[in-house]
C-alpha cells in the first residue's frame, strides 16, 4: 500500500510537471460547458443540472480514455518502466498507483465543470446529491479506465493516440452526453442505450437528479464493464507476456 501511494504520487508528479497536459483534459469539458450549457440551459435549474452531470461524465470519459490510452502506451515505450520492475516491488504497485493517480486526475478534470455550473448556471444539487455525484464519478470511471487500459496495453503509442480519439467522440456524442436527456437527435436516441457512455450518464443523472435510469442502458453498461475488463486483462497479459516472460 505504501508503495502504491508512492507510485501514485510520482505518476501525478510526472503529469503535473507538464501542466498543459492537465489543462488540456480540463479545458475541453469546461469549454463545452461554457459554450453549450451556460447560454442555452443556464437559467433552467433542472436542465442545467442534467447538462452539468452530462458534462461531468464527458470529462470523466475524456480524462480516462486519453490518460490511460495514451499514457500507458507511451510508458510501455520507456525503459524506465522495466527498470522499476527490477526494484523489490513487482508490477502491482505501479499499476495500482497509476489507477489511483488516474482517479485523482479525473476529479481534477471535472472540477472546472462543477465550478462553472455553480457560478454561472442555475444548476443546484443537495449535499447528499453532491456526495452521490462525487461517488458516481469514481463508479463511472471504471468502464472508461478499462477502455483506456485496453487501448494503452494493446497498441503502440502512435496508434493509441489515434484510436483513443476515434473512439472518444462517438462515445460522447452517441451516448447523448452533448444533448439533454429528452432532446437528443433521433439516431442518438436509438444507439445511446447500447453505449457505455449512456449507462454512465444515466448513473450520474440518477445520482444528482430524480432521473429514473433506463434499465437497458444500465444492463448494457454492466455488459460493457465485463467485456472491457476482459479486453483490458487480455491486453495486459499479452503485453506482460511479450516483454516480461
Amino acid at each position: 500500500m505504501r508503495l502504491t501511494l508512492l507510485h501514485a504520487r510520482y505518476q501525478l508528479l510526472e503529469i503535473l510537471r507538464v501542466p498543459i497536459a492537465v489543462v488540456g483534459s480540463m479545458f475541453f469539458p469546461a469549454a463545452a460547458m461554457l459554450f453549450f450549457v451556460v447560454p442555452f440551459a443556464g437559467d433552467d435549474p433542472v436542465g442545467a443540472t442534467y447538462a452539468t452531470a452530462a458534462m461531468v461524465t464527458f470529462a470523466v470519459l475524456s480524462a480516462n480514455v486519453f490518460q490511460y490510452g495514451i499514457g500507458v502506451a507511451e510508458d510501455r515505450d520507456q525503459p524506465w518502466n522495466p527498470y522499476t520492475r527490477t526494484l523489490p516491488a513487482g508490477p502491482g504497485p505501479r499499476l495500482a498507483g497509476r489507477i489511483l493517480a488516474g482517479l485523482a486526475l479525473t476529479y481534477l478534470a471535472m472540477l472546472p465543470v462543477v465550478v462553472i455550473a455553480a457560478v454561472a448556471t442555475a444548476a443546484r444539487v443537495s449535499a447528499a446529491q453532491f456526495l452521490l455525484g462525487a461517488l458516481g464519478v469514481a463508479v463511472v470511471s471504471v468502464p472508461f479506465t478499462l477502455l483506456g487500459l485496453a487501448i494503452g496495453y494493446s497498441l503502440p503509442s502512435k496508434a493509441a493516440i489515434v484510436v483513443a480519439q476515434v473512439i472518444f467522440f462517438p462515445l460522447a456524442f452517441g451516448g447523448g452526453l452533448l444533448s439533454a436527456p429528452d432532446d437528443a437527435p433521433g439516431f442518438v436516441k436509438v444507439i445511446a442505450p447500447y453505449l457505455p457512455s449512456r449507462g454512465a450518464v444515466e448513473l450520474m443523472w440518477t445520482a444528482v437528479t430524480d432521473w429514473r435510469p433506463d434499465p437497458v442502458a444500465l444492463g448494457m453498461l454492466g455488459g460493457w464493464i465485463v467485456a472491457l475488463a476482459g479486453l483490458a486483462g487480455w491486453a495486459y497479459r499479452r503485453d506482460e507476456g511479450r516483454r516480461f516472460t
Binding site: 508528479l13 507538464v18 524506465w80 518502466n81 522495466p82
Partner: protein
C-alpha cells in the same frame, strides 16, 4: 557464497535462440565482466538474472531464490538505461523514488556526492547532460545498499573522465565487499574492473576465467609481414592489410611461419606479437567456436 546463478539456461525468442545452455555463477565479493559483441546474449542473461525475463529452459537463482520474486531482489541494484529516466522528475526525486523501495537506503546527499551530482539535485533529469544522466542511472543501482550490483553496459557513450568516475565508484563498492556483474563490449573496462571475465558469443559461454587466462587460453598471435601476394594459409583466424603490411591472426604462429616459408612467399619484416585481449576476444567470438575446448574452470 553464490549470489546469482544460471544453470543450463536456454532462452528463445520465437525461433531465435538468444542463450543456449548457459552456466554462470557469481560469487560474493567478485567483479565479473560479461564480455561479448552486441547480440551475443549478454543483455538476455542479465534480464533473466534480474527477473525481467524467464528462461525457456534451465534455472536462474538470485540470492538463492527466484529473481522474479520481489523479495529476492531486495539486495540487488540495477541500473536503468540512461535514456529511460523520467525527464520531468528532478534528480533528487528520482533518487528518493528508488530509495523508497529499500529498507535502509543510502542518504540522498551522500549518494549524489559520490557520483558528483550534488549540484544537480534540483534539476530535471531531462535537462542533464548525457554523462550526468548516465552517472545518475548508475547511482540508482547503489541506492538500496545492494550486495550485488548488475550494470549493463554502464559506460557506453561516456567520455573518458566520466568513465573513470564510474569506475572509481565500482572499485569503491567492491573494496567494501560488494559484488558486481557488469556487461561491456569495452575490453578496457573489463580489464580495469574485473578479476574474472565471462566471454559470451552466440548465446554460449565461450570462456570463463581470469582476464589473463582468457587471453592465454585463446593464445592468438598476430603475425605481421610485408608481402605482395599471399597464398591460402591454414590456421589463419583473420587477415587485414594496412599500409602495405599484412596482419594475420593465428592460434599457432610457429606453424604459420613454417607454412609461409614452405610456400616460398617472398616476405620481409616479419613480426610475431601477442594480441590484445580485443583481438583474442574477436577471434573466439567470430571464429568457429568449440565451447568444449574454450570453456575452462568455472
Amino acid at each position: 557464497m553464490i549470489l546469482a546463478r544460471a544453470e543450463q539456461v536456454t532462452r528463445r525468442y520465437g525461433d531465435v535462440i538468444a542463450l543456449d545452455g548457459v552456466d554462470l555463477a557469481v560469487r560474493a565479493g567478485e567483479v565479473v565482466g560479461l564480455l561479448g559483441p552486441n547480440g551475443a546474449g549478454k543483455s538476455t542473461l542479465i534480464n533473466l538474472l534480474v527477473g525481467l525475463r524467464k528462461p525457456s529452459a534451465g534455472r536462474v537463482e538470485l540470492f538463492g531464490g527466484d529473481p522474479r520474486d520481489a523479495a529476492s531482489r531486495r539486495a540487488l541494484g540495477v541500473t536503468p538505461q540512461e535514456t529511460g529516466l523520467p525527464g520531468t522528475l528532478r534528480v533528487g526525486e528520482v533518487v528518493d523514488f528508488v530509495a523508497a523501495h529499500f529498507p535502509d537506503p543510502v542518504p540522498r546527499a551522500e549518494l549524489l556526492d559520490r557520483f558528483d551530482l550534488a549540484d544537480q539535485v534540483r534539476r530535471q533529469t531531462g535537462g542533464l547532460s548525457g554523462g550526468q544522466r548516465r552517472r545518475l542511472a548508475v547511482a540508482l543501482a547503489f541506492v538500496g545498499r545492494p550486495r550485488l550490483v548488475v550494470l549493463d553496459e554502464p559506460t557506453t557513450g561516456l567520455d573518458v573522465a566520466a568513465r573513470h568516475t564510474l569506475w572509481e565508484a565500482v572499485r569503491a563498492f567492491h573494496a567494501e565487499g560488494g559484488t558486481v556483474l557488469l556487461s561491456s563490449h569495452y575490453l578496457e573496462e573489463v580489464e580495469a574492473l574485473a578479476q574474472r571475465v565471462v566471454v559470451i558469443g552466440r548465446g554460449r559461454v565461450l570462456a570463463d576465467d581470469t582476464v589473463d587466462a582468457v587471453r592465454g587460453m585463446v593464445g592468438v598471435r598476430r603475425v605481421s609481414l610485408t608481402a605482395d601476394q599471399l597464398p591460402e594459409l591454414p590456421g589463419v583466424v583473420s587477415a587485414t592489410r594496412t599500409d602495405g603490411r599484412t596482419h594475420l591472426l593465428t592460434t599457432d604462429a610457429d606453424q604459420l611461419v613454417r607454412d609461409l616459408v614452405a610456400a616460398g612467399v617472398a616476405f620481409r619484416d616479419l613480426e610475431v606479437r601477442p594480441t590484445s585481449l580485443e583481438e583474442a576476444f574477436l577471434a573466439i567470438t567470430e571464429g568457429d567456436p568449440t565451447p568444449s575446448t574454450a570453456t575452462a574452470t568455472a
